[in-house]
């Protein structure tokens, strides 16, 4: 009972507000600097605009306010002197003076850090979060002293498997409830909760659910500011500071979520969501998150010539010569199967090739079969670039025919030779392989090996989207750049380069040497792509202030080792 502490149990009648200095906006002061912000702007975000970095854990721009970590406390002229207010909760008002660096604020931050670390195991050496951990970062910045606690810490479950994707270390949890809020507010699956009370409480799956089951559960790993929630796929596979990051796009479905591809050498280790207000907000679905795996495994490392027992690997130059030699006599009767998984640059070059070299007026569309859609991100169309494909085909005067038309034509024996991009088709690989067995010539440019690559007379190893620059156009017609993380594996080359070289060999030089050149040369013919400024598509999304896109993904800010917001990019495409 008994408290007179919070100034009142009920609101006082508001004193007449001062007239706004900038009508339509609120004007206030943070650390002596004037801030003009839209009404309703969160103080943490507003303060960032004048360089005041208020530390926080529980606040997330896309979740409700919990104000439970108490890390963001600042001084405000709106309350009695000596009282601190949580910046995440109390919206700035006209004329208010906020101070974020006073002695009182600093002491409080130091103490909150000490509180948070009190029962924390600090087993950074075996913690996946190390290197991108907000406890580590803020400890260095705001505390930096040994803990004064004596005796044991509260012991909890160290590796509690919550579901297929996520494992929880309850000891590392700082009870910010971001995960709980995400699951109920965004994922609409209120499966997580706080159990127990006081310093013994834990995060766990609600008993009626038994296990965490949601296609969005991976996001809580990004949201968790510490190493409590970990991705079972990524766990113990890499230390964060050895990874580099490339802004990329998820190819799992036609939503085209912005991602960051974290890589080391020529392997991608994980996708993290990249802030994008228009497409995926701060999230990524679990299926998409795991779709990076095909970038690493079952790749076609080298060109393969001949089928069955005659198949042999061959260097690229030989493969080009061989393919050109085989295609030459059939020009005019080669069917073309395009893939909505390929980038705009691949399609620009290959449609030019189809029209001008293969002399065909139809393109068949392969790619992946439709699947499930859901309420948040996932689209039924599992191909990242169908929109782009349609635009380009139309601009190039090519008729787009569905995959069924091709199978019918194949079965009727109307198609004798086929040039295909991509190994994925919307039917079972076996059935497709049986159909293509009968072809006189089947030239395939594919990223990965599958049953579908077996019957091909020529398999050209194609580069994936993390191995080249390019663009995808997602379902809503938003075109996005993705960046090259590392050079292609083995002898792989982007689709556009294979077709360009084939075209040259067949006497029609496209004269392009990079995907940028492909776009610059061919995209102006496509009205929807003409205005896209390929060079200006820096990875940073500035539509939502306060959220840096190079963020540790959904966390809404850069992790420690990338605190400057500039990705540790390798390869040729530093923005």
């Amino acid at each position: 009972m008994s408290e007179d502490k919070k100034p009142a149990e009920a609101p006082r009648p508001p004193p007449g507000p001062p007239p706004p200095k900038n009508p339509g906006f609120i004007t206030f002061t943070v650390d002596g600097k004037e801030v003009v912000a839209k009404p309703g702007t969160n103080l943490i975000d507003a303060a960032k605009t004048v360089g005041a970095d208020i530390p926080y854990y529980c606040y997330h721009p896309r979740l409700t306010i919990a104000a439970n970590c108490r890390m963001c406390l600042v001084e405000s002229s709106a309350v009695q002197p000596g009282k601190l207010v949580p910046a995440c909760q109390i919206p700035p008002t006209e004329g208010v003076v906020i101070k974020t660096t006073t002695e009182r604020v600093r002491t409080q931050q130091k103490m909150v850090m000490e509180f948070l670390l009190l029962n924390h195991p600090v087993d950074c050496a075996i913690c996946d979060q190390a290197g991108e951990c907000k406890l580590q970062d803020y400890y260095m910045r705001h505390d930096f002293q040994p803990s004064r606690l004596e005796g044991g810490k509260v012991l909890r479950h160290k590796r509690k498997v919550l579901g297929d994707t996520v494992v929880l270390d309850q000891e590392r949890c700082i009870m910010c409830t971001r995960c709980v809020r995400f699951m109920s507010e965004v994922a609409k699956a209120p499966q997580l909760g706080v159990f127990g009370r006081g310093s013994h409480e834990v995060i766990d799956v609600a008993p009626e659910y038994g296990k965490l089951e949601s296609n969005y559960s991976g996001n809580i790993v990004d949201l968790c500011p510490v190493g409590a929630l970990l991705n079972r796929d990524f766990r113990f596979r890499a230390r964060a500071w050895f990874l580099s990051a490339a802004p990329s796009v998820c190819t799992g479905c036609s939503r085209g979520c912005s991602t960051v591809a974290d890589f080391m050498g020529q392997d991608v280790y994980r996708y993290r969501p990249r802030e994008n207000e228009a497409i995926n907000k701060s999230w990524l679905c679990d299926q998409g998150r795991l779709s990076y795996k095909s970038l690493n495994t079952h790749r076609v490392p080298q060109a393969v010539l001949g089928r069955g027992a005659d198949a042999k690997e061959a260097p690229a130059a030989e493969a080009i010569k061989y393919a050109a030699m085989k295609l030459q006599p059939l020009l005019g009767s080669v069917a073309f199967l395009a893939s909505p998984v390929a980038s705009n640059e691949d399609l620009l070059a290959s449609f030019a090739f189809a029209r001008d070299v293969l002399k065909t007026s139809t393109v068949y569309v392969g790619g992946r079969a439709d699947g499930q859609a859901d309420f948040l991100l996932m689209q039924a169309d599992k191909n990242p670039n169908r929109r782009g494909l349609e635009w380009i085909a139309r601009a190039f005067g090519l008729t787009v025919q569905p995959f069924d038309a091709l199978t019918k034509a194949l079965d009727a024996g109307l198609v004798k030779a086929l040039f295909a991009l991509g190994h994925e088709v919307p039917e079972a690989d076996d059935a497709w392989a049986a159909r293509t067995e009968k072809l006189e010539l089947f030239v395939l440019s594919a990223t990965n090996e599958s049953k579908a690559t077996g019957p091909a007379h020529v398999v050209l190893p194609a580069a994936t989207h993390v191995e080249d620059e390019g663009t995808f156009t997602q379902a809503d017609g938003i075109t996005q750049r993705f960046r090259r993380a590392f050079p292609p594996r083995g002898e792989a080359r982007p689709h556009w380069r294979w077709v360009a070289e084939l075209a040259k060999e067949l006497g029609n030089d496209l004269a392009v040497a990079s995907s940028r050149e492909v776009f610059k040369k061919l995209a102006p013919a496509v009205p929807e792509l003409a205005s896209f400024e390929w060079d200006k598509q820096a990875p940073v999304n500035q539509t939502r202030p306060g959220i840096s896109t190079m963020a540790a993904a959904a966390d809404g800010r850069p992790p420690g080792w990338r605190e400057q917001g500039v990705p540790n990019l390798r390869g040729l495409s530093i923005p």
Partner: protein
């Protein structure tokens, strides 16, 4: 000395069958409510404002003012609720339970008045989980009143529906905090909400809700029986009426008493009508004036009136009226450790400083009491407490709810006022009171 001229709450406690409807009615029960309901609702609120009735739950917030924060029906057409806080769990406080046991209809009559004034058609009484007997009595009283047609479709025969329900807590102190109480009523975990918005605007199920203490609401019938003027004159300064206080600890006659607002703490402890003093030869060493969360007073600070504003200069508070007296045989470290353990146990765990700070303070105190204390411990202890809620003054808490303050204020007040005791423990490396740290009990009257 001030004398209690008229009893307000306890007036009829000793009458036979007072806790049944028949007994209550035999004594003029529900007449005040009938009278009050003649008035338009706004006039009832005005009367309550005039009476200077202040919340008895701890904060002493003017009740009429609180009611007036409920937005008008034009502004917010949602239903309104009245929630009665009967979760009395503050250590040292036992007043609401006696109202429930001895005069439950007094509370129910108050509820009728309050709900009519607020336009609330539903009232929930949230009672403490451990209140087995009091809630049984209350349940019976509600059933009787409903059967008698007092509640139900027609409140006291008027065209106004009112249903009263009792909801029992599950034994968490934090559920006495008004917003945690609302969460608990909604069937959720008792975690206090962020304020603003305050319950009067967004409360139970998102609707405007007034939360009042049992004693507060139980005062209403008398206000309408005898007039607001009378009630406010009974009181002192800005606090109308009388109040119930619970005296415990080293006094000869511990118990719950109704006192006038201008009774001093000293009178309460020594007067024959109340505590009847300490055993021979003992002196008051420390006194917690308003439930264990109120900053402690020393034996020299007893000449303070029990009225709500009088504790301000002493940087303490009248709180819930739980007066705990410690004499010179008690060990201050042990007493504080006990208090600290309570708040460590009861912290809901939502916000960092309270969740981690309360158990830490309790651990340091245990260490000192057990003779393992070190020089730096007191500074660490004060530092931790100040990070939860710096004191003085009251009201600087850094946490979501005032439980943070409740645990930090005793620590800072005990350590600053009795620092020598704490240092002695550290010097001697043991508790100087030996095996009787709670004080010597045998020789009470």
């Amino acid at each position: 000395m001030s004398v209690l001229s008229e009893k307000v709450i306890t007036r009829d406690w000793e009458r036979p069958n007072q806790n049944t409807l028949a007994g209550y009615k035999a004594n003029g029960g529900y007449k005040a409510a009938m009278k009050a309901l003649e008035l338009p609702p706004a006039a009832i609120t005005d009367e309550v404002k005039k009476s200077q009735l202040r919340g008895r739950g701890g904060a002493g917030f003017p009740t009429g003012l609180k009611w007036s924060f409920v937005p008008s029906l034009e502004k917010n057409p949602k239903p309104r609720y009245l929630a009665i806080n009967a979760d009395e769990s503050e250590p040292g406080t036992a007043k609401d339970r006696f109202i429930l046991e001895k005069d439950p209809h007094l509370l129910l009559e108050g509820i009728a008045i309050a709900c009519y004034a607020l336009g609330a058609h539903t009232c929930y009484i949230y009672s403490r989980g451990e209140f087995k007997y009091p809630s049984a009595v209350l349940d019976k009283a509600i059933a009787e009143a409903t059967a008698d047609g007092i509640f139900g479709k027609k409140l006291l025969g008027r065209d106004f529906e009112l249903n009263v329900y009792q909801v029992r807590g599950a034994g968490a102190y934090i559920c006495g905090e008004e917003t945690a109480l609302l969460e608990s009523l909604e069937g959720k975990k008792g975690w206090p909400r962020l304020k603003p918005p305050f319950p009067a605007v967004v409360g139970l199920f998102g609707c405007p809700t007034v939360v009042n203490n049992v004693e507060t609401i139980a005062s209403l019938p008398r206000i309408f029986e005898k007039g607001a003027e009378w009630f406010s004159k009974l009181g002192f300064g800005k606090s109308g009426g009388t109040r119930l206080v619970t005296v415990s600890g080293a006094v000869n006659r511990p118990g719950t008493y109704e006192v006038a607002m201008d009774t001093s703490l000293r009178e309460l402890i020594y007067d024959a009508a109340y505590g009847q003093g300490l055993p021979e030869g003992r002196t008051v060493k420390a006194c917690i004036p308003g439930g264990s969360s109120a900053p402690v007073l020393t034996g020299d600070e007893l000449d303070v009136k029990l009225e709500f504003d009088a504790f301000k200069p002493l940087q303490s508070m009248a709180g819930s009226g739980g007066v705990m007296v410690m004499d010179d045989t008690a060990c201050m470290v042990r007493c504080l450790w006990r208090v600290s353990r309570f708040y460590a146990e009861e912290s809901c765990g939502q916000c960092t400083p309270c969740r981690e700070g309360q158990p830490w303070m309790a651990r340091i105190l245990r260490k000192i009491e057990e003779g393992r204390g070190e020089r730096g411990d007191l500074d660490t202890l004060l530092g931790v407490a100040a990070a939860v809620a710096p004191w003085p003054p009251i009201g600087l808490g850094t946490t979501i709810c005032a439980l943070g303050d409740a645990g930090a204020l005793p620590v800072q007040s005990f350590v600053t006022k009795f620092r020598e005791d704490f240092e002695q423990h550290i010097r001697l490396r043991r508790c100087p009171k030996g095996d009787k740290p709670w004080g010597v009990f045998g020789d009470f009257k």
